[in-house]
């Protein structure tokens, strides 16, 4: 679904990532680790087409990112759920509308989906907060809401940038469980995280692989965890 073929990415100054090749297939479950500033967020952005590689080819669902129109990008985003690091909500809309936003913008906000929304909010423990505005939420609540929004379209791929950074252990287990369930339904999941405990916990539930970013390269980590 996402094919990265020898891609590199450089910001104005120097190269941040280089010689990256990776193919994300249905049912894959990846963790992405590495020190802060190593390029985890950049890597995820390359995966959903927010950034275009400076060399090499990135293909999303068979389409080269360079040849994609703006509408192609919009369509692709509907198939890739993204949990943004800073959550990115519309602050004037209540939480439930924010979570349902992907449905709204794609014109799929029908009744079935509304029932779905309630179930999803209950799952992430935000049923009581459905009418709160995003600025009224705690960091953890925002992250849970961001995850709910990322999965509401039942996307083929879920990319999550530090989805458990601000939540307690129990809730991070719960979120992980949600991602594992989605993965079992054939969705690909990529989670960027610092949290080694989370990775260990996931390994007992799912066939997860760990990608480590070091020295501008992305390597598949061995059994060192």
């Amino acid at each position: 679904m996402i094919e990265l073929d020898n891609i590199a990415y450089s910001y104005g100054g120097g190269e941040l990532l280089s010689e990256i090749s990776l193919s994300i297939q249905p049912g894959d479950f990846y963790f992405l680790t590495g020190p802060s500033g190593a390029g985890k967020t950049t890597f995820l952005k390359l995966c959903y087409g927010e950034l275009t590689p400076t060399s090499g080819h990135a293909k999303l669902f068979g389409q080269d990112v360079r040849g994609m129109s703006r509408d192609d990008h919009a369509t692709t985003r509907r198939r890739i759920g993204v949990v943004h690091q800073d959550c990115a909500f519309l602050d004037h809309l209540p939480l439930s509308d924010n979570v349902a936003l992907p449905l709204t913008v794609s014109g799929r906000d029908d009744l079935d989906q509304v029932a779905n929304l309630k179930e999803l909010l209950a799952w992430v423990g935000l049923k009581e907060r459905a009418h709160a505005l995003p600025p009224e939420l705690s960091g953890g609540e925002r992250q849970r809401a961001a995850l709910a929004r990322a999965v509401i379209m039942s996307p083929d791929v879920v990319l999550a940038d530090e989805p458990t950074g601000n939540v307690d252990w129990d809730m991070s287990q719960r979120l992980l469980q949600l991602l594992v369930e989605l993965n079992k339904m054939g969705k690909a999941v990529v989670i960027a995280t610092h949290d080694m405990n989370l990775i260990r916990a996931a390994k007992s539930k799912v066939q997860a692989r760990v990608l480590r970013i070091a020295n501008r390269h992305v390597q598949l980590a061995g059994a060192d965890l």
């Binding site: 927010e50 919009a74 985003r77 990115a88 519309l90 709204t104 379209m153």
Partner: protein, 301 residues
């Protein structure tokens, strides 16, 4: 074309959700309303001016076109004979409905503004005037001149073209200026709405990037802005038009003295043009906001 029509219908039918996605901004909204209203107010006056000058040109043209004057400048002893001869010629000229020599009293009245009421006209060698009324079809002025030259050497025909042309020209120019003013008003409205839309798009850059992140197409995002500005321009212009018409109605009514300004009102079917003012404002806003949104969005990722 179909897509355009559905876009236009979407503006009026609306999508409540798309509308809520962009937060309302009271200040820009009020400014847009005010600007559209002020421009519509001015447009009403430009329209009134343009129509009044159109009517004026027509009236001058009509009144002067249907009449002409024959002047007989002959020695006093030949005057009556030549007048009679001229009347005979005029009676047999096709295209002339009536011809009548002005009486001394009438000639005195014509001269009174210049020489005072007590002028002894009968003692002065004043030329005799003959008023000619034309039929609808009119007559051949050059042919008549030739015939008069042969039979009534002292006759000079004035068919008023000399007067009519510059008057009509002036009125026509005035009308053109009115039209130009309307075009300029529409252009300024477009410019202001473009600025307001750009400001709104810039102020909502974060919202736009969130919408893009969750898979919104440009057309969806643009619609929220276009709908808003189109409605604002329409409502503002409708208000401005009502106020403008009210102001025009408050002008003194047209009088016989042929006052120019007092004839500024809207008469009959021409009032229908007023309906077009808010519609034009809405169309201008629709196009301007659409263009601004497309330009801004294409610069974002």
């Amino acid at each position: 074309m179909k897509a355009l029509l559905s876009d236009i219908s979407a503006v009026f039918v609306g999508d409540a959700q798309a509308d809520r996605v962009v937060p309302p901004t009271g200040f820009t909204a009020r400014l847009t309303l005010f600007a559209a209203g002020a421009m519509a107010f001015l447009a009403v006056f430009a329209l009134a001016l343009s129509m009044a000058s159109g009517r004026l040109a027509q009236r001058w043209g009509d009144e002067l076109a249907q009449s002409s004057t024959l002047r007989i400048s002959a020695p006093v002893e030949q005057r009556d004979a030549q007048t009679a001869a001229a009347l005979r010629v005029l009676e047999t000229t096709p295209g002339i409905a009536a011809a009548r020599a002005l009486s001394d009293a009438e000639q005195r009245a014509l001269l009174a503004p210049w020489f005072g009421p007590d002028l002894p006209v009968e003692n002065l060698p004043i030329p005799q005037l003959i008023a000619i009324e034309e039929t609808e079809a009119g007559y051949d002025a050059d042919g008549l001149r030739l015939r008069l030259q042969a039979e009534v050497p002292g006759a000079i025909l004035d068919d008023h073209t000399r007067w009519r042309k510059p008057l009509q020209q002036a009125a026509g120019r005035l009308r053109l200026l009115g039209g130009l003013a309307i075009v300029l008003i529409a252009a300024v409205t477009a410019a202001m709405i473009t600025l307001a839309a750009n400001a709104a798009l810039a102020a909502n850059a974060k919202i736009i990037s969130v919408l893009r992140l969750v898979g919104a197409r440009d057309s969806y995002i643009a619609k929220a802005f276009v709908r808003r500005f189109t409605l604002r321009a329409f409502l503002g212009a409708a208000g401005g038009t009502v106020l403008g018409v009210g102001a025009v109605l408050l002008l003194p009514a047209a009088q016989d003295q042929g006052g120019f300004l007092t004839g500024l009102g809207f008469q009959g079917l021409s009032a229908l043009w007023l309906v077009l003012v808010p519609l034009l404002a809405a169309i201008v806003a629709f196009v301007a906001t659409g263009a601004a949104a497309r330009r801004t969005l294409s610069e974002l990722r």
